[in-house]
Symmetry: D3
């Protein structure tokens, strides 16, 4: 099985531990980006992957390529051109102090993507699944059409398409998002998002939910999932459910809707090590379980357990095996030492 | 607006993370001290500040000056003389193991302060507020008179005076503290403390409080505040309320009394990163909100939210902006990522 | 008073903080091993100790010796021969991700122990207590007989013997363990274990306990303790009670049975810094309190408080003083700063 | 005395020690930039300084401001606007492996400078000296005119102007440089450069010099200095003389020409810790010595000794005092411990 | 072009900077091994590579695989079985203190290699070059035959074979080495070694060489090369020439003999960052230049420049590009900053 | 054999690598002090040692005790009283920038030494050698008499006495030094110093020496040695010869005079890692070789080689074995890797 993901890989610069940027004299340097993170997740599950992107032909770009190769992700469709690798600064929050992300990704090599940079026929040859998120078309105006083309091409090649809505208000407006994502949605089989995404991108809302207050209405989420499916005809809709108690503790779950049934996963209360990439690890887990024909309940349990574990791992990438995820699904996560 | 603070700046040496001193082969080196911490808080809120002190004319002293300049605190009233910079070692606790402070501040340049080291008329010219804590007069016998002079001079210049009682049993006895602080109190407008301070310094007690047991009696605190105001004629009394569940988790709140009403702030349950300087950050927040004529409730909410955030920041200094504090007051602190 | 402990000392390699092994580019290097950990605990309580073992005569072995000397443990009975120091890799877990231990201890200098490497008469001269765990005889077939000899010799010298059952399924089978430990048990005065150990080693079970689910049945533990005492005639049996809520939070307590009464200690809810060596620190605390003729209740409270503190300390060794343990027993562990 | 410098401040990201970028998992984060470096040098010598620039109004920009405040540089003329802080990656070379700089400075807040961002009349009020380098006008087309205006305005305010030619081939062509720098040169009093700069910017060449081969022709440098002075009518010309033996060892000296005499400084053989900012520290030293009316020989000795010391200091900034430079001029640099 | 290399990959544990093992509390963790190092060199030059080996199926083995994937080395012929990854400890020397290597590689997964672990026909399909060193057959008795088989199979597949003699006295005796290497040599086309290797393995000696004294006799090396070629009928013989001035400074060169002419490369005086893997980087450079049909002189210059650069790079792997090596060959290595 | 040394142990705080104090945010924390360093040297050579001193009874003092125990030094004569451990800050120099030491040792527990703190009869029981340096009596006025008493008591117990003159101008004047050291010298058998010490302490000078210029006159040193012996009747005089080329490179040798012959050791050119403690490691090496009845030439070669190696080791302590020193004496220090 082979999965293709398409998006931007950024250099992630983070002060060590809980230092604020203004007090830090060094940065931990890793790489990450929504779709790259999904590819790493899948590669760690033993799936063949190719990550499609553009990076500059310098050491900063090379180190990004290396970070993917290290975990077995295919990099032959990463074009090398242009001058800069997108950067994001991450200041990790704690307790009542929220994490903060400062993007410095504009003008990157990927930002200057042109349609001819991507040979979709070659890319999708032999592929089984294609994953993209709402961030990719938001990076630059030219990428909107490219993203739609990618999805269309995937369908033409008989490749399943999943899309994480992932609305980023700093990259485009709600209207721009709606216009592009509506076009893109018609090629999508599996739609992933949270309630905010559905509202921000498509204006689909549900009552009874107060994200900041920590209360989640299951009915509200069901209503959102149903509306998404009815509007766009997705095969499946998955909605992640995060209750943010503080920057240190979150509750985390998700539901899956296949048009007939709602499958609700176990909820985990998580002491957070690093929550960036949590949603991507959910997508990675879900794609894995659907590719392997897990039942609806098993699929959503696997995806939630996988992304629960991600919150305990530093960096964007989810570095867990199928075994570890499965063990968590079964054990419930008491965290005893494995000797 | 300009705020003057007066006290000692110490080199703070702390093993990384949760290492004990006996197992540490390196120390994180920052600087801190009650009144310096208040100045940094205020400078980060955009207030002009001057920190008054004495530091040795060597690199250890210079690094201390630099640590203040870095955050915009005025350093022109820091006299450079003598041989040593006070030091304190901080071993950070966790769970049931308490944090431990070892002072090595005796014989410092500041310890050898003489009255003629300070030109109070020059210092208070154009100033709006003066802050001092009970630590400053406790450092050395000569500093008792100097601290009283400073407060008297501040009043003569029409400068508001705030004082954090901050009793340190390793520096002076309760009797010494009472004698000096009683004299000093008559120049103070805003008195800040916790219940222990009121008891240690002035013998003012309230029933119904068990600090170790985690129960706080609101009535007890009201009684302490009232007694303080009645005895010394303060304009305002603020009392911080800490419930120590463990070295890792504390509850934190405060109340403000203006002689008529009691204003009680929201209580936060905090996963602690660094609690040293928590009280100072409260003073900083309170001075800011009073200088800006916040209402009683808004003032205490700002001060408590500011110091709540301090607990998530490494080092003595509270590195937050007015914006961040205000956002916490409004949101209640769920800690969602700010992208 | 002098205590002898006998076992293997390993180089412990651990990625910093919560990094996984596959993402770590450095290892924190400390040393540890069940019986060495007990010796360090006792040395920190002011007890004379000697650790009996074998280490290679190279720098890796020397650094191990030094790590013990640093904390005052006697090292004159550590023979230097062979080529390798056992190693264990520790990946610290967090939240739902369990800690993981990878042993690389086979073929070590200690593994190749021969009976003539140990002069038990010299070792036990002037000793008051001998401690061993079920790991030592499990390291290699030859060590089974050596361990039994050690215990027998201790008894001949009038030395008290304590044994922590500590079953390690990667080192030997349950049958092998039962055979050896049954022989060894007859020289043991104080038996230490948890419910799993009793079951794994001796097949002694109690109903009503679900370790993963977080429920502990006090009656079950009493039944286990009674069976152990009846079967082997121990003077005292101590059983540690861990409830693993997650890799970040555990509840921790223990009970002591002297054949007449059960003494149950206070239970602590612990935010874990490092739980490896938790059981060893319990043994260390228990030996100290029994050596000093603490009452049954005081003894178990001391042992549990000591090992509660260990969970807040990095590394295998418990670096606390009698004073600190006693303070926790009295205060209940609110973790206020000690200035 | 007050010195104004104008240019860009960049975040400097450098792998620790001698790691290559492709193997580094962290970056040391400091700030630097030609003219900012000169301001720090002078501030450390006790001179009042103001650095004129633009930085984004986020934490990355704030940390840059703080890095200057820390060393006492005035920051009130640093405008805060735009989105990004220029970045440069520095891979430190060793032995035969050259250091490598990767610029990621395009599209920065400073790059988008507009004439109305700078109020030169306010900036030059009370100033004694203005320093700029050839990098500033090279950053963006709009900055060419702004740089010329700055120099013109400085002259109108009676402020001395120094300029370090500093040709950067990655930022503009030789023709562009020549056109702009020729216009700018007419406002310059003190011209600083090396032989390559004179050739790259103005096409002024001297025979007999082989930079890579390690041979320097004194006559050649004299000829270059004379041609510069004759062409542009500078008051003084200073030329730095670097002989690169390897990335680890350089020889370093300079000469000063005042139209009448050539002053040649002592040559130092340097074991390099960090050579970035070496030229800027020379400018800083020269401005200091000229501001203080040092004789020609004393001035060039001070400037060379100052920049010799810079090579032993990590980061762009030269962190030495007048005392330390003077001591090196006198002692010749045997490096004995100062106790 | 595709190159196969066969050997052991070890975890390399090194104290940071120049700390001795007995004072280090952490280890830098990288991976290395003669033939793996050669594969990384070649992969960095753009050559397809496969590294053949055995590693345990745990995280320590996986991190080793990842370290190779990161730099693009093919890992599909790395079998995963057994329990342990070989380890070596490296203490970096300085000045008169020599570097020290402590091997802990016995009993590794690779040590327990069996003939059926390797499918040489599959491995050599489509390969152009096979590289092995004298370390591989020395690891364990069973590996002697396996190594010979590998070379024989390579010849059968028409693959060129290079061998670095690399005698390791801690792994086998001179007699054992001679017996095995004599058999293996008959399949070797390109023989690489230094004078000591030739003497230790084959008893081939040359007069006039004093390695410790820093004098090298060119004639002596020619004589060794000739004897090697005459005895074994190699196509080419390359001899590396190291003059160890101290642990901090070495001179480094090499010669190549093709049976007709001797090609002597430029000698570099190197300030050493890390000299481990220096010989392997020479082999990597030589294989590259021979694969690309460089002339004798160009080939040896490339190989020596490549390995000269290695000495400036931390870790076993040589992380340089063809461009960088070529630039050094041309420039002579003055180490100027590349901006 | 047992050696006693007497002096102060200080906490040594040093910025990492070559950072200046004003730019450092952390300190490497080790311990050191002239006489403690000598004890560690000897302990590493297998000699029994006891270090006599006073340290505070807190964690800072305990960590100092532990640093000695780690390397096997006896600590039973370290009295624990008072409040502070002396501190010294070390900023490591490079190239033309000298290392800088800032002492913060005044008012330490050792500074407040009283005669009754030391039970010399107990201390010298069974001892063979006593070592002290000129620093110990310089620490505080009361220590002058105590130091003289110690030497006198040593002689009474038949213990050999060595003294390193080690003049510290920041601790006492030349006159004070002369007065005390003249009294102390009469108990000394082996006098160690450099030319400056002889001049500073006793006013003994030799012509022809220019320490800063790098030229050393052998005749001058002979004259100094002779004068020392004639004046005080020492059994042996050793003079260390350092030529400081820069902070990075020194030449190092020494001579020994026994009243009849001068023994001059090999001179080493050293690339310095850490030169603090260089003189102490010389004393340690000399005491070892004299205790073992080495010939004059062998003794001085051992002492110089030992201290040559110290320059390659971080921290005050010389961590080398007799084997390593002997190997250097024989090999001449080419620094080849020891595998």
């Amino acid at each position: 099985m082979k999965v293709i993901t398409f998006g931007e890989l950024m250099l992630r610069l983070q002060p060590y531990n809980y230092l604020r940027i203004v007090q830090s004299e060094s940065y931990e340097a890793t790489y990450g980006g929504g779709e790259a993170n999904v590819a790493v997740s899948l590669s760690n599950y033993g799936i063949d992957t190719e990550f499609v992107s553009i990076l500059p032909n310098n050491e900063i770009g090379q180190a990004g390529v290396n970070s993917l190769r290290k975990y077995g992700v295919g990099t032959k469709f990463i074009k090398r051109k242009g001058d800069r690798c997108g950067v994001y600064f991450l200041e990790k929050g704690a307790s009542q102090r929220a994490s903060k992300v400062i993007y410095d990704r504009k003008w990157s090599s990927f930002y200057f993507s042109e349609p001819e940079d991507y040979d979709w026929d070659a890319i999708f040859e032999g592929a089984d699944w294609f994953h993209i998120s709402g961030i990719t078309p938001a990076v630059a105006p030219a990428l909107r059409e490219i993203a739609i083309t990618a999805c269309r091409k995937a369908k033409e090649h008989g490749v399943k398409v999943s899309c994480d809505l992932n609305y980023r208000g700093k990259l485009w407006t709600r209207d721009e998002a709606k216009e592009t994502m509506t076009k893109l949605a018609k090629y999508v089989d599996v739609c992933i998002g949270n309630e905010e995404d559905a509202s921000d991108v498509f204006g689909i809302k549900a009552a009874g939910t107060d994200i900041y207050g920590g209360k989640l209405s299951v009915e509200g989420y069901h209503s959102v999932a149903k509306q998404l499916m009815e509007t766009f005809g997705f095969e499946k809709v998955a909605i992640t459910l995060r209750t943010s108690i503080s920057a240190s503790v979150n509750k985390w779950s998700a539901l899956l809707y296949d048009g007939k049934e709602f499958y609700q996963a176990k909820e985990y209360e998580i002491n957070i090590i690093d929550r960036v990439g949590g949603g991507d690890s959910f997508s990675g887990g879900l794609i894995y379980s659907l590719l392997n024909n897990y039942s609806g309940q098993d699929a959503i349990e696997f995806a939630v357990a996988a992304s629960c574990l991600k919150h305990s791992i530093e960096g964007d990438y989810n570095l867990v095996t199928v075994d570890e995820v499965t063990k968590l699904v079964k054990s419930g996560g008491s965290g005893r030492v494995q000797r």
